[in-house]
Amino acid sequence: MLSIVVFGLFLIYPLFSLFVSAFQDAATGNWSMQNFVHFFERKYYYQSMINSFTVTTSVTILAVIIGTALAYFMTLYRVRCKSIVEICIIISLLSPPFIGAYSWILIGGRSGILTRWLAEYGIDFPSIYGFAGILLVLTLKLYPFIYLYVAGAMKNIDSALIEAAESLGCSGIRKVVTIILPLITPTILAGALMVFMNAMADFGTPMLIGEGFNVMPVMIYSEFINEVGDQANFAAAMAAIMVLITSTIFMLQKYVVNRKSFTMSSLRPMQTGELHGGKNVIMHACIYLLVALSMIPQLVVIYTSFLKTNGSIFVDGYSLDSYIRIFNELGTAISNTYIFSTAAMAAIVFLGMTVAYLTTRRKSWLTDIIDTLTMFPYIIPGSVLGITLLLAFNEEPMLLSGTALIIIISLVIRRLPYTLRSSSAILYQLSPSLEEASISLGASPVKTFFKVTAVMMLPGVMSGAIISWITAINELSSSVILFTGATKTMSVAIYTEVIRASYGTAAALSTILTLTTITAMVIFFKVSGRRDVTL
């Protein structure tokens, strides 16, 4: 019941008010299609939709190619320093999304390190801004999704399948195309959906590096904070269009995957082989180059955080000035980040476990509704969620805008589905007879849940919760809409510092964030005893 209330109040009601305000004329408050007409009349607006679509599709295709190829070689061939490569890939996936954009600007921007260095030799570095920049940053950021998904699926392919193909006379590239690829296609599609949704919803990257290349999340944000008259309703209309697009893609993917899905469980995974000579060198070179490209943003940020700065310009010499400045000026942002994410994590763990329990063990029409509801956050981009919450809760009696609570709520809503899904997966593996045994011995169902079920779920749920915590501290797209001076978080602070061109402080903040992320990941690996991450 509680979860129905939570989802109803903080998801359905806000979404409803979003759609209502999208169909309202700001001046008169009457029902009208004016906002939508406005959007499709002006090229300036509808171009952003086309842009979003082009860049998202390109990112998805590139990420699928890179991620799948990487997974293929990493699983089937011996790669030196494989575990380091994997950890780097995971770090780049979990790092704050916009750090990539920002540090590529530091490298290849107008006054970037590389640009200036090349300019001394009279070479013009191609512009990093716009479409190419977004494509570069988002691809490097998102291919790890595909990698993790596909590598997992590859491990589940029974080597007997491959041997069967070989015994039938199939080998080499045909084996890949006719056996391996079809086996991992559902997985690739699932990964591609994650990439698509993330790329579509990403706000920080295009905001920083996109410049003239407008995409929808940026457009929604700027129309929304641009508090001139009717803009809130117009932004709501754009948000509604975006939700429509993402849900269409979501349904489409579900439909395709449902038709193609099958389960695999491997008794004997495929053996890793070894490549020799030139092929081996090329493979290693490609993998290392890719990992280097993914790690450069992190390294650049850490490096520049120790540089002396003068306003927005880095000067010679090293110092801790940037760190001292952020602790003096932005201390609350740092503590806010940890407090909000930890509060959100606690709520997610509690809700995730109880709701998962109810939906898997006590099936009813009610739990079916919850099941469906929890899919919503997949299709609602962060900035849209931010707007919906603001629109819904900026009036008495439910005045939440500007409070810490609204940010925590947005974090919970965004991450809960993931925890729910993993909790349900854990529950399906726990035999119900364990609970029945406890009940038969006289423990009430509630007591049984806490003494038996929860205890056994906890390790799995906690490791998922750590990942949620990491994404929460790095969250930007909804917080940037919901924050006020007192509830600023680190990622919002980095964003505003970058906009102010205060690169030193931004770098110092990013470094703290990155190091926190890595620490949390180490804890995750310890807690879960695993070497991979599922998101």
Partner: protein, 374 residues
């Protein structure tokens, strides 16, 4: 402590599907009662209704005179042993056994005493501090049994507890369970699909089919005087022949389709002259005899089993009830005068005292004193 269980016209439905259409049974205080039947017959469903894990759509279940329909499972004071054992993997053996006692807020020293005793009874004292994953199947089974019994439940419910063990261990655990049950003297409902297990362990057996109890009786009665054709073929093997009754001069005879007739003294009043019947003969109820005495048949296969030799036989089709997997004769090697060979034509005489006669549709026995519920 221990109670009698009254199952009174109980109904189980899943949506529109009726699993148990209305079942009545009385389980006596302290007895070992087994529900036996093919998979999907509703035996586990019934057990879980008694336990409180399945809802009851109609009728009543009573412990002694108390209706328990609306008492939640955790307040019914039942002990349950699961097919998968359901040992809590995060607790040691001792903690598993203590679990139910802790919930009952038993004082520490009394609890220790009880746990020690039960660990000793099921012979797992030496493993008490181990985590369950380091125990063998048989040891886990003992933990499950100890955990269920230690709380002194009103009834002990067991759902195919031995099906995950290997054959030898199964026999060993079977007698262990039986022994412990007698020692504690607790009403026990046991579910199994293994007829040998049921015959060896139970005080009484209820044979179920499609949610309906076919017969309730002691193992001996179930085997020797089955109530209907289903029971006679489900428990052990029975060869089914077509025949009819002849009644003359205070004597009743049963006549096989080939004309062979034998005098019966065990038939009930109901058996009337000219009535079509099914004659059920177990493989060990034949004996070889002289030509002209008994039914004539041909030996088709021969399997040597040590104590017995098993032959499968060929009869003219019109003599048999259709759709039987095989017609068999078991020859006891201890009393065998001579062995038969494949291809031999022989005369076999059924033992008139032992064979069973059923009405033509197989639904009832025509033997004296055979009742559905004993």
């Amino acid at each position: 402590m221990s109670v009698a269980i009254n199952v009174d016209n109980v109904v189980k439905k899943y949506g529109d599907l009726t699993i148990i259409p209305g079942l009545t049974e009385h389980i006596k205080n302290g007895e070992f009662f087994t529900l036996l039947g093919p998979s999907g017959c509703g035996k586990t469903t019934l057990l879980r209704m008694i336990a409180g894990f399945n809802s009851i759509e109609g009728g009543k279940i009573k412990f002694n005179e108390q209706v328990i329909n609306d008492i939640p499972a955790h307040k019914r004071n039942i002990g349950m042993v699961f097919q998968s054992y359901a040992i809590f993997p995060h607790l040691t053996v001792r903690e598993n056994v203590e679990y139910g006692l802790k919930l009952r807020k038993m004082p520490k020293d009394e609890m220790k005493q009880k746990v020690d005793k039960i660990l000793d009874v099921v012979q797992i004292t030496e493993y008490q501090d181990r985590l369950p994953e380091r125990l063998s199947g048989g040891q886990q089974q003992r933990v499950a049994l100890a955990r269920a019994i230690v709380i002194h439940p009103s009834v002990l419910l067991m759902d195919e507890p031995l099906s995950n063990l290997d054959a030898k261990l199964r026999v060993e655990m079977r007698s262990a369970i039986r022994e412990v049950q007698k020692q504690v003297g607790i009403t026990t409902v046991y579910v199994t699909h293994d007829q040998e297990e049921a015959l060896s362990i139970s005080d009484r057996i209820a044979v179920m089919k499609k949610g309906v109890i076919q017969q309730t009786a002691s193992p001996h009665t179930i085997y020797t005087r089955p109530y209907n054709v289903f029971v006679s073929t489900f428990i052990g093997h029975s060869n089914l022949f077509k025949g009819h009754i002849e009644a003359a001069a205070g004597e009743k005879l049963v006549v096989f389709a080939d004309g062979y007739r034998m005098t019966m003294t065990t038939l009930s009043e109901e058996a009337a002259d000219g009535q079509e019947v099914v004659i059920s003969v177990r493989p060990e109820e034949f004996s070889i005899c002289r030509e002209g005495e008994g039914v004539r048949c041909k030996v088709v296969t021969k399997v040597f089993l040590g104590k017995y030799v098993n032959y499968s036989l060929e009869f003219p089709e019109e003599m048999l009830v259709p759709n039987q997997p095989s017609i068999e004769y078991s020859q006891d090697l201890g009393h065998a005068e001579k062995l038969l060979e494949v291809g031999d034509m022989v005369y076999l005489k059924p033992n008139a005292m032992k064979i069973n006669i059923f009405v033509a549709d197989g639904s009832r026995s025509l033997m004296e004193g055979v009742v559905e519920n004993e």
